[in-house]
């Protein structure tokens, strides 16, 4: 994954603006901004790096001796997910059991300046939904009984795909009151609206938080193709079939020997 030069320029500009006039979203003593609020997916999209900048306004709250802690939680569009489990049925292994979960974010990234268990106690983390685990509801949508193995599998598989991640290294303090975080969006990042919550901690308690957001969208050609496919589906189908016949015919012209 790489950050585009344009993205880096945008990020720097954003940081400059932020530091100069403390713009961006204001939540009491925390000022934050994103390097971009729109991630366009071009035909060569393989992921994007988004920067989060934040300033803790001096004097708003006394700075803890150990320094501030920051947790950035990024959540992608939510949707229903079915988790299936293969079980043996005679000699066969078949999908015999399943659980359905609703409102599961398609993308979760929890970034912090140090490990979450050092920032806050377990009860506080659960309460404030800090980390991947508290963000995935354990309740299933179906009538089937709750089975923690399904929820665990959901988390494990999504982490393997790079869609759920926790990192204690991607928030960096530039100065005691200014921090920067990097959101790494993979190429498989689902389209839609993303929420970014920046929470400021002091001595294991949340002082304040600020909410931001960005949107991942298809651009020009990709969006056009998708729109046509959905709105004029018959035309799209006929056009695709015609292209197929044309390509086949052209190839036979190219390869004709006699």
């Amino acid at each position: 994954m790489r950050a585009s030069p344009a993205g880096a320029t945008r990020a720097l500009t954003a940081a400059a603006v932020l530091l100069a006039c403390a713009a961006g979203t204001r939540a009491q003593s925390l000022v934050t901004t994103l390097s971009t609020d729109l991630v366009p997916i071009l035909s060569n999209f393989t992921g994007e790096r988004i920067a989060v900048f934040g300033v803790v306004e001096p004097g708003a709250a006394p700075r803890p001796k150990a320094g501030w802690d920051v947790v950035v939680t990024v959540r992608g569009p939510r949707g229903a997910v079915t988790v299936r489990r293969k079980e043996s049925w005679g000699p066969l292994w078949l999908n015999l059991d399943q659980r359905r979960y609703i409102a599961i974010p398609a993308f979760i990234s929890v970034l912090s300046n140090r490990p979450l268990d050092l920032i806050a106690q377990a009860e506080v983390r659960d309460d404030l939904r800090l980390g991947i685990e508290p963000l995935i509801p354990s309740q299933t949508a179906a009538r089937a009984a709750n089975d923690p193995r399904f929820r665990e599998a959901l988390q494990r598989l999504r982490e393997k795909q790079g869609l759920f991640s926790e990192s204690a290294e991607q928030v960096r303090f530039i100065s005691p009151n200014v921090f920067q975080a990097q959101i790494d969006l993979p190429g498989t990042a689902p389209l839609g609206n993303y929420d970014v919550e920046v929470a400021l901690f002091s001595d294991g308690a949340r002082v304040t938080k600020s909410n931001l957001g960005f949107r991942v969208t298809k651009t020009a050609a990709e969006q056009w193709v998708a729109d046509v496919a959905h709105q004029n589906s018959i035309l799209y189908g006929i056009a695709t079939a015609l292209i197929a016949v044309l390509v086949g015919w052209l190839a036979s012209l190219v390869f004709r020997r006699d």
Binding site: W93, P190, K218, T240, A241, W249, A251, S252, F255
Partner: protein
């Protein structure tokens, strides 16, 4: 080089897809089969959502079989009368198959039905073809002259009403079993998301004794039209046809099909059938392994709906 697919909604390596197109196109041109039963698992394996993989099959196979059909047409190896007859039955079967497919999806367990059907269908067809062709190869090795068609020896189904002469194929049979076979193939094809050539080719050779060189061209001709219909049906009912993915597969596929068609023309009948039989068996074994062995990861996650 990575390219973003607009319908599948993920980036994929362009050359990987092109290469897969060439490989499947080669096999398609060689045996006169669509290659769908190879391409669907391949696409799903590289991460394309199953719905998109199945739907995008249509245009890819249409392009390959267009090239293949033209090549066989120039060699006068297409029996158009037989092709149209098969197509009529195939379309009816496809329609019935789509209805059955939707019904099974409603009931759940569609994946199980598909996997087991693949194993049973591919396994039995592959086994039959392999055994027969091994016998034929051994017989030729022993110096026996390959048995020519015996005049006057007919099966009961050839004598049904509506007897028709198919000149190019040199057969004189009732159209009822031919249409029946096409309906069956169309049905299985729609349920499994395949063209059905791998059933059609051996069936025409063994049941109706159509000469091998005519079978391939005629099968490609029938598949071309079935796949055009499939593309339009998929595009209108589930909007899962990815034009970008299809174009990449097509470009690779048509090149592969050209070479495949030439390789097929130089292959002797019994070796041709032996290769086809083994190929089908390998895919069947792959599917069987899927359901017969303990999966390393028993869980799978499928997003069912997303709010944007």
């Amino acid at each position: 080089m990575e390219i973003y697919l607009p319908i599948a909604e993920l980036p994929i390596d362009m050359f990987l897809i092109l290469g897969m197109g060439v490989a499947v196109g080669f096999i398609s041109g060689m045996f006169g089969i669509g290659g769908g039963f190879l391409l669907t698992p391949l696409l799903i394996f590289v991460g394309i959502p199953p719905a998109v993989a199945v739907a995008t099959q249509g245009p890819q196979i249409a392009a390959s079989s267009m090239t293949g059909s033209l090549a066989y047409w120039r060699r006068k190896s297409i029996d158009f009368k037989l092709g149209w007859t098969l197509l009529a039955g195939g379309l009816v079967g496809t329609l019935l198959g789509v209805m059955f497919f939707n019904q099974m999806r409603k009931l759940g367990q569609l994946e199980t039905v598909i996997t087991i059907s693949y194993v049973v269908l591919l396994g039995s067809v592959g086994l039959l073809v392999s055994i027969e062709s091994v016998k034929a190869v051994l017989a030729t090795r022993r110096g026996k002259v390959e048995r020519k068609r015996l005049g006057g020896r007919h099966h009961w189904y050839e004598g049904l009403p509506l007897k028709t002469r198919f000149h190019r194929s040199g057969i004189y049979v009732s159209v009822i079993p031919i249409v029946g076979l096409a309906v069956l193939v169309g049905f299985a094809g729609a349920v499994l998301g395949i063209g059905g050539g791998f059933i059609l080719v051996p069936a025409m050779i063994y049941i109706f004794r159509v000469p091998a060189h005519v079978v391939v061209g005629t099968s490609l001709f029938q598949i071309l039209f079935t796949m055009i219909a499939a593309t339009i049906i998929h595009a209108t009912t589930n909007q899962s046809v990815d034009a970008f993915l299809a174009l990449l597969l097509m470009v690779g596929g048509v090149f592969g099909a050209q070479f495949g068609a030439r390789a097929g023309a130089n292959l002797r009948g019994e070796y041709f059938r032996l290769l086809l039989g083994f190929l089908i068996l390998v895919v069947a074994a792959r599917f069987a392994a899927d359901v017969l062995t303990r999966p390393p990861e028993p869980f799978s996650v499928t997003p069912t709906e997303t709010v944007r």
